[in-house]
């Protein structure tokens, strides 16, 4: 029995409404408990800031897209290098770190959980091979369904039971946690180099629309009682004027009733989808319209997809947008179509502060977070590594906390940016509690892993704890943002499952994390109809036999399986 007591902690635990109380946190066998005995290991926080371990609900940390990014960018792997030690393997990479750096760097910042945002089922084995080698953090992944032939055929034939049976089967086959939809229908159209242009466009050869795909998957998601809602990357990403598609996509799910205490729709990296104007020349921020919608509707959540100036490696299942990016920027381009399932693309690029398009994007991310009143509705992400690498989270945290820091940043950004955005006029400054929501509590709630003990410090929760070298009562984040940012970059302690895994930003232990996935029972006629269709597709169109397709147990060594049932 191992026990730990963190004394004199200034705790922010929004899920339990703890707002800066000075208290002790007790840990036994990796869980939070009421009290511990005298022999417990003592860590004196000395009044410093204590958060639940950070949770990242949307990041690209594993799988073939990430790996082609590494292969394509040896110049990136040359950054951030750290030699091996007796305890740690070598670190490499900035936008596309190797598996070791991926886990170590999250842990060094006080993050203990991260969810991979896009798993193509056929390539899920690869994703899990990488996830299994990312040390320390717990993880999960979202499975791609938005351009899948099985999905579109079931929807066209109006067979939701069959659709549910397939989603359940796909989650099992990929050991996935939730339903990801990327540019619905567009991935299939990209199979012949085309795209869909809006929600009511017909997907060629499949006679369904993006609207139908979103709606049906959202309904089925709730009937399956999945922990997470559907997770949507909207159509028309990266195009001026796309905010209208985004708002219309929100509306599709307006009357969906969530089966759990969470949103009915999560829309991801909305920064890339909140653009006004008709072309690059008149592009402008429409974050006000998006925030206005969020302020009036509580059925949905979003994440920022904040842009970080400097190098990024964009990677997404949105194949067509990546080709457009690569052509526009004359950049390297990798594409990765996945038979019957989806597409993907990877393109390195550089965000410049003096480029007003990039400036507007930078502003939109922050505006979304600051104009939306309820902090629970907007998660802080960079859509790693699309907006920029996750190691920059401390920078984003302080940008949200300090107007002065924003002003300092704005002084270096192309002036035209501020004619097209409202960021300069926003006074709001988030506090320690808001930041705890935006970087852990809301992520856990949106993913549906609060019940699994994530994102909070209530009794029974996982003892995933971050102690930062900040005394909240003596620190004014609106002015001392440099110190705050430095403290968020290197936690004083990161505790994962009751083990101190990092101290003063250095790794001290490397336990293996767990992987969350969902198993849903669908035992009506839909299952048989689905199997019949699936066998046909494997016989005729897949290049892999069905018997070799599903991810085997060997690839998920520390699983946490959540069971649900389709009604």
């Amino acid at each position: 029995m191992s026990e730990m007591l963190i004394k004199n902690a200034t705790v922010y635990d929004p899920i339990n409404s703890v707002n800066g109380d000075l208290m002790d946190v007790a840990v036994r066998n990796g869980k939070i408990v009421d009290s511990v005995g005298n022999s417990a290991q003592i860590i004196d926080a000395g009044g410093r800031l204590v958060y639940p371990g950070g949770v990242d609900a949307h990041t690209h940390i594993a799988g073939s897209k990430v790996n082609i990014g590494r292969v394509m960018r040896p110049e990136d792997s040359r950054l951030g290098i750290k030699a091996r030690t007796k305890l740690t393997r070598p670190y490499t990479g900035y936008t596309v770190p190797n598996v070791y750096a991926m886990g170590y760097r999250y842990a060094e910042m006080g993050y203990t959980t991260a969810f991979e945002a896009a798993i193509p089922i056929l390539k899920a084995r690869h994703t899990h091979e990488e996830l299994e080698e990312i040390p320390i953090i717990d993880k999960g992944g979202l499975t791609l369904f938005g351009s899948n032939w099985m999905v579109m055929d079931a929807i066209r034939e109006n067979d939701q039971d069959r659709l549910a049976a397939y989603v359940a089967w796909g989650l099992l086959a990929s050991r996935g946690w939730g339903v990801k939809i990327v540019n619905p229908g567009g991935g299939e159209a990209w199979g012949f180099g085309k795209n869909v242009s809006g929600l009511d466009d017909t997907v060629p050869n499949f006679e369904v629309t993006p609207r139908q795909i979103i709606r049906n998957l959202a309904e089925v998601n709730e009937k399956m009682n999945l922990p997470h809602s559907i997770h949507l990357h909207c159509n028309n990403l990266g195009k001026p004027g796309n905010y209208e598609t985004t708002l219309a996509s929100f509306d599709i799910c307006k009357d969906i009733k969530a089966s759990r205490d969470r949103q009915a729709l999560h829309v991801t990296h909305v920064q890339f989808n909140a653009w006004g104007g008709n072309h690059w020349g008149d592009m402008e921020s429409k974050s006000d319209a998006i925030a206005d919608y969020l302020n009036k509707n509580d059925f949905l959540t979003i994440d920022m997809g904040q842009l970080i100036f400097g190098s990024a490696t964009t990677m997404t299942a949105d194949g067509p947008v990546q080709y457009a990016n690569a052509r526009l920027l004359k950049s390297r381009w990798s594409n990765g179509d996945v038979e019957l399932e989806d597409s993907s693309g990877v393109t390195p690029l550089e965000y410049h502060a003096q480029n007003y398009v990039n400036g507007i994007m930078w502003a939109i991310g922050l505006e979304l977070a600051l104009l939306t009143k309820d902090p629970w509705q907007v998660l802080m992400t960079t859509d790693h590594p699309n907006g920029g690498p996750y190691v920059n989270y401390p920078q984003v945290m302080t940008l949200l906390m300090s107007k002065k820091k924003r002003e300092e940043a704005m002084s270096k950004i192309a002036e035209k940016t501020f004619e097209r955005t409202s960021i300069a006029g926003i006074d709001r400054e988030l506090d320690w509690y808001d930041i705890a929501i935006k970087t852990r509590a809301a992520h856990a709630k949106v993913l549906g892993i609060v019940e699994n003990g994530k994102g909070h410090l209530g009794v029974g929760a996982d003892a995933d704890i971050a102690i930062y070298d900040i005394k909240p009562d003596q620190t004014d984040a609106t002015t001392e943002y440099n110190r705050v940012e430095a403290a968020f970059r290197r936690s004083a302690y990161t505790i994962k499952g009751g083990v101190v895994v990092a101290k003063d930003g250095e790794i001290t232990a490397t336990p293996m994390g767990r992987t969350y996935w969902v198993r849903t029972k669908v035992d009506n006629g839909g299952y048989d109809r689905m199997m019949e269709d699936l066998k046909l597709k494997f016989r005729n169109y897949y290049s892999v036999n069905m018997a070799n397709y599903m991810v085997q147990d060997e690839y998920v060594e520390h699983p946490v399986v959540v069971d649900t049932e389709y009604k």
């Binding site: 990479g93 179509d337 892999v544």
Partner: protein, 433 residues
């Protein structure tokens, strides 16, 4: 007993539809595989026991695994510049251990791509790789180009399963749905099956690619009357075919990567494909040889950040092809010990490299006798992965699959041997530090 859905541990097609009959722990029949695949699964003469010799011209003497492993660890631990090469004919599980061992001994890890598709990686660094899974091409491609590769011989079931003769969802008339074009310096068996054969003068692929790019871009007037031995009209015709494709796919092989121009050829070919995407959908994919050579590139990339040729002597990965590939190091006579596993340096390296290997201790880990054995000092036989051992392999298109075990044998796996060497190296290094 018949075991179904078996994967073939021979070429990068990684066919997964074999049926293997096993009786009394022996493979007695292999169905659906091509000849080369079936012959590997049936098995042939293998190395029976670990062996050692001091003099490379002398006779081997049989030794225990323990002795061979301890001596291997001793050689690697005291070596200043050990090369750990091969890795293509094994499973991802052992590759992970190989990278760890390389870190432990501060060596260089390099795989067979070094003398095969290594230049493709450089092309990808320059331009990326617009590609997809084999089933995507099988279902959609209406124009199929083979450039500098000969699947009839090297990937015998490729044309039947993925590229030419099979039916796909859109390409539903099989062979008749597709126009097949072969670019090669000689008329191969594959060329004989094509609709169009374009004979390129040896070493002039780069020019031919450039001419095609010019024509596709509407700048055909700058193209001379013949390029690389090909008449301009023929190139214009082929360019038109590619441009008109709804889905075009280029499969390329060592005829492109190992001829004059090397990685520049790949760079140029990828550019052509990227530009063609403005007209229809186009993809390109290397025809990888060994069944899991693609796996090594993947494992090495996610563990070290680099695809191959990684030097760990600084305690972190350092990659600089031209400096850190096996043959660069051997020819500079830097290497003072070689560990060859699941790949055959002896058969594929140039004479100058072989000469260096003749002067340094060589450790071989492999189930089979091959030219590397001739220059080895220590030979450690292991299980045949995918026949006697299950685990992960990556098909040429990056789809990972789990190889099956068909029969049981007493040999240790590559992974077990590596584990023991790592433990011993740590013991030796721990004692000396």
């Amino acid at each position: 007993m018949i075991i179904k859905d078996v994967l073939c541990p021979f070429c990068g097609c990684l066919c997964d539809d074999l049926a293997v009959e096993v009786e009394n722990n022996k493979v007695v029949d292999v169905k659906h595989a091509c000849k080369i695949g079936a012959s590997k699964i049936r098995g042939h003469d293998r190395i029976k026991a670990p062996m050692m010799r001091d003099d490379k011209n002398g006779e081997f003497r049989e030794v225990s695994y323990e002795e061979a492993i301890n001596e291997s660890a001793r050689i690697l631990a005291k070596s200043k510049r050990p090369l750990l090469y091969g890795w293509a004919n094994g499973l991802c599980e052992m590759m992970k251990k190989g990278i760890l061992l390389t870190e432990e001994v501060g060596g260089i890890i390099d795989n067979t791509a070094s003398v095969c598709h290594g230049p493709s990686a450089l092309g990808v660094h320059e331009k990326g790789l617009p590609t997809g899974t084999l089933g995507q091409f099988a279902n959609r491609a209406d124009v199929v180009v083979f450039w500098g590769c000969n699947p009839v011989q090297a990937h015998p079931r490729h044309m039947g399963r993925y590229s030419v003769f099979n039916k796909g969802f859109f390409a539903n008339k099989g062979r008749r749905s597709r126009k097949v074009v072969v670019f090669d310096v000689r008329k191969t068996d594959t060329a004989n099956l094509a609709d169009e054969y374009v004979q390129v003068k040896p070493g002039e692929d780069y020019m031919v690619l450039s001419a095609l790019r010019a024509i596709v871009a509407g700048k055909g007037d700058v193209v001379p009357d013949t390029v690389g031995g090909v008449p301009k009209e023929k190139l214009a015709e082929v360019a038109e075919t590619m441009k008109a494709a709804k889905f075009g796919i280029v499969y390329f092989g060592m005829g492109l990567t190992q001829s004059r121009g090397k990685y520049k050829n790949i760079d140029n070919a990828v550019s052509l494909i990227t530009e063609l995407n403005a007209h229809g959908k186009h993809s390109i994919i290397p025809m990888r040889g060994h069944y899991n050579v693609t796996g090594f590139g993947n494992v090495c990339a996610w563990e070290t950040g680099f695809i191959n040729a990684v030097d760990m002597s600084r305690g972190y990965p350092y990659y600089n092809p031209g400096e850190t590939c096996s043959n660069d190091l051997l020819m500079r006579e830097e290497i003072d010990a070689a560990f060859i596993i699941a790949g055959d340096a002896g058969a594929h390296f140039p004479a100058q490299s072989i000469a260096r290997m003749g002067k340094v201790p060589v450790i071989q880990v492999d189930p089979f006798h091959n030219p590397t054995t001739e220059m080895a000092n220590i030979v450690i036989p292991t299980k045949v992965s995918g026949v006697e051992l299950e685990g992960t392999a990556y098909r040429m298109d990056g789809v990972s699959l789990r190889m099956r075990k068909l029969v049981d044998v007493d040999f240790p796996s590559d992974e077990e041997v590596l584990d023991k060497i790592i433990a011993k190296v740590r013991e030796i290094k721990g004692a000396s530090s």
